[in-house]
């Protein structure tokens, strides 16, 4: 059992026990089930386009853009990974979360899939700086996964969206908005 606190889960058809609050503990098996649900009608994601749109939307948000909305239709989970202030260094207390993702991605049920790692910030600070920082942090997570834990690099794509897609749009400065989204992009080609 890997006990971890998770942020809000925004998954299509996610199997969860009823009555679970936004912060919850998932076992490794639940995690693998959550991420492994690939729908036949899953939309294809053009990551280059997402990067382009995020850069063009700094300070304006991406929540209304169809390409970004498509991400919500894919199997995913949201985790909190803490970093040193204004740095790409993952806090030691968040190593476990990265290790837990590695455990899931190495499982035979998920080994065939590639994943998008989306970094989000709150709206504290400059929008362009947040966009850049979130990209670097998403890069840092994929680097740790592909080196320390030997996940094939072609299974991981990192993207930062800064403060442009808050989970709590009414409170863009809230800490809940700082999060990492792990999205199953489908089979590795």
């Amino acid at each position: 059992m890997m006990n971890l606190r998770f942020g809000t889960l925004l998954t299509v058809g996610l199997m969860m026990a009823p009555g679970q609050a936004s912060a919850q503990e998932l076992s490794d098996k639940q995690l693998i089930r959550t991420l492994g649900r690939v729908e036949g009608a899953a939309p294809a994601i053009d990551v280059a386009l997402l990067v382009q749109e995020a850069a063009a939307s700094a300070g304006k948000g991406v929540a209304s853009l169809p390409d970004w909305q498509n991400l919500s239709k894919l199997s995913q989970l949201i985790v909190e990974i803490e970093f040193e202030n204004d740095s790409v260094a993952i806090e030691p207390k968040s190593y476990r979360t990265v290790g837990m993702i590695a455990d899931a991605l190495h499982h035979p049920n998920l080994r065939r899939y590639k994943f998008l790692v989306v970094g989000h910030t709150s709206s504290t600070g400059d929008a362009k700086h947040n966009l850049m920082l979130s990209q670097k942090r998403a890069d840092a997570i994929t680097e740790a996964l592909s080196t320390t834990f030997a996940i094939a690099p072609d299974r991981l794509i990192a993207i930062g969206v800064g403060e442009e897609w808050p989970v709590d749009p009414a409170n863009p400065q809230a800490a809940d908005n700082r999060r990492v989204q792990l999205v199953n992009l489908g089979l590795v080609r």
């Binding site: 890997m2 790409v88 455990d103 740790a144």
Partner: protein, 140 residues
């Protein structure tokens, strides 16, 4: 008579412990790096500020400060690296070790994930080498 029974039980337990000790258990990646964070967290914050887990940077930083890093951390670092390697090795040997059992008990099952869950249900598999490989890979 009662004493003898107790003694016999103790021998059995000792034997079981011995059997278990001959084989090193592997642990999850999450557990491995949790040990790193617990035992080396303070040293990482002190000596490796701004550095990341990836690319072996934390490991080389801690090794580079060998004289200053706490003895607990130094000992843990080595075991964490070994644990991660052992789990990786176990996971990559699964396909080869279980090939025979998969062909025998899970004929026609497609996909590695489905083969694994089929093997996990086969009692014969659990008792053998393939079963041990699945346990070592952390896929029970």
């Amino acid at each position: 008579m009662k004493k003898l029974g107790l003694f016999g039980g103790a021998v059995l337990i000792a034997l079981l412990t011995l059997t278990a000790a001959t084989r090193a258990d592997t642990i999850s990646y999450a557990d491995a790096v949790t040990t790193l964070a617990t035992d080396c967290g303070t040293d990482i914050k002190k000596f490796c500020k701004g550095m990341n887990l990836g690319g072996g940077r934390i490991q080389s930083c801690l090794e580079g400060h060998a004289g200053k890093v706490s003895p607990t951390c130094t000992a843990s670092l080595a075991s964490v690296v070994t644990s991660i390697r052992a789990r990786l090795a176990a996971q990559s040997s699964f396909a080869a070790i279980c090939k025979h059992d998969a062909a025998q008990y899970c004929k026609g099952v497609k996909g590695e994930g489905n083969v694994l869950s089929c093997l996990n249900k086969a009692k014969r598999v659990n008792e053998g080498q393939c079963g041990q490989a699945i346990t070592d890979a952390g896929w029970r």
